[in-house]
Subunit: 322 residues, 2 copies
């Protein structure tokens, strides 16, 4: 069987099964959550996450070098954010075509540094290597107080389903670029310079109101399915509650809205569940929108009064090359 | 200016200068040593290192999938070893061509797992991504007691210069493959399944006899120059003291010996300096060979009674593609 036929999620599960069972100090191991979680013998867990990005697949041609650097750090910080962690540092391995101009790499490094600084952390190390295609493999470290760690797996039936920020901005920007429709810098930035929700993640963890959390960079639909699997529950969300930027309401037409908000991915927002009696506490932590509720099983969306199953479709490596 | 013209070491220095200055808790930051070193508020430092490897550049065609996995972990563990650290976990981002057979990736993962297990650690997370060329970007975490951390920068004039194991085995294997000369499995393994000196590194740190240390995977000559720069001292080594595997004495001819032992790289041995009065302590920690001494400045080699400058030449990305 080829990797292409298996797809990313099945591959990750398969790899995780091949690995030795984690020892006690590994609280979450490979394939289990957005970050690996280690007990380092203090009152805080150490969290680690890694993401590899490539020129052709992950950096649209209109992205600047500075935005490539920013994105390479942001994608890792977003995983830390989803566990409520405080960033500790980022290392970046860079595969660089030898004919690249030094000034281009300088801009990439400035973007990396800027993103790290913006979220209270820094680039602490890395590796450079000659490679045909620009490849950025970042690893972010963070810590979280042991009693505040939020996993994908804590959602309970009756909890509210919430998201930070707006949905579909990155997807709308992608569509606008494809169709050559003019679009504001703000919307383009949602795609090219996404803001990882580090501060919101930490505030939500501190609120102790959140029962499960993950980021939705692969799209809301896939993330709901991932969380459903991890928590052993189902979800029902409402199309008319999905928060959308006003510009996108006019930019997109008909089914494009749902496609961008739910399936395309690229929004670096947090998806989380909140115990009903603690919703006020969560609202004090950061702006949020309640988009649905946790149910027994299945993943559903209510559109114009009709309830439908929500497909497990979104941004997935390997598959999307078919 | 193109990256190719600058070369790897100058690029890393340049990138490090572009980054924000590390805050207090970062003990060693980007470009300073084999690992980044973080103060996490316990009696141990946290160490982080990352390395990206590629099919074409780093995995000779005769390497098995299992060996590719082993190497991708070993290269990172070797950096931990050079700081005397105990491994805590490894994350691996894998860029995989979609047409790769699943069985091939299974073997890669088994090799990763085997290498991690052999050195008392494990694969705790990762990322998979579609990519034209198989690309493995690993990050290893480790810890070391604060008072036992060994840097590149502590060598003192009069110290002995020492190495673990043999030099030139990887280089000889490479040469033998190039020239299609038959060679033993043991020598091939030095190239394809190098053994990171984790246990030796920890034992040397515990001996408190070592003043500076790094690994020599880029070759002894480049490593001596790196350490000379970091420590502000010079080195004199003796060709006739370089430890060489008996098979290689007969396999290589004339100048090939020096080329393989000093310049080619690929040996995952440790280079370290020892205070003269503590040499016995270091010898109790692990088998070692004294190959020279620390001097005021310059890097020299004595060959057949004649002292020559030792060129700063070895395995360097970008440059070697010229």
């Amino acid at each position: 069987m080829k990797i292409r036929e298996l797809g990313e999620r099945a591959l990750i599960e398969h790899i995780a099964r091949l690995l030795s069972r984690p020892v006690n100090k590994v609280i979450e191991g490979a394939g289990e959550d957005d970050c690996a979680v280690l007990d380092i013998g203090t009152d805080r867990y150490l969290l680690v996450t890694t993401d590899m990005l490539h020129r052709k697949t992950d950096f649209p041609s209109r992205m600047t070098a500075q935005q490539i650097g920013w994105m390479s750090v942001a994608v890792n910080l977003s995983d830390l954010a989803s566990k409520g962690a405080m960033p500790l540092g980022v290392v970046m391995a860079m595969g660089i075509p030898p004919d690249t101009e030094l000034s281009f790499i300088e801009e990439v490094v400035r973007g990396m540094d800027e993103c790290a600084s913006t979220y209270g952390t820094q680039i602490i190390g890395g590796d450079t290597d000659s490679h045909d295609e620009l490849t950025m493999a970042g690893t972010a470290l963070g810590t979280v107080k042991k009693e505040l760690l939020i996993r994908r797996s804590g959602a309970k039936v009756g909890d509210f389903v919430c998201v930070t920020g707006n949905l579909g901005s990155a997807g709308a920007a992608l569509l606008a670029l494809d169709k050559k429709i003019p679009v504001s810098q703000e919307i383009l930035k949602a795609l090219f310079e996404p803001a990882p929700r580090i501060n919101e993640g930490m505030a939500l963890a501190n609120s102790r109101a959140v029962t499960s959390m993950m980021d939705i960079s692969d799209g809301l639909a896939l993330s709901l399915h991932d969380m459903s699997k991890a928590s052993g529950v189902g979800f029902k969300i409402y199309e008319n509650r999905l928060p959308v930027h006003p510009e996108i309401r006019t930019l997109l037409k008909g089914r494009e809205h749902l496609e961008a908000s739910v399936f395309t991915g690229g929004d670096f927002e947090l998806l989380f569940t909140v115990a009903p009696e603690k919703l006020d506490k969560a609202k004090k932590a950061c702006p949020l929108t309640v988009i649905g509720e946790v149910i027994e099983m299945g993943v559903f969306i209510e559109k114009a009064g009709r309830v439908e199953e929500l497909e497990a479709r979104g941004y997935e490596h390997f598959k999307k090359l078919d």
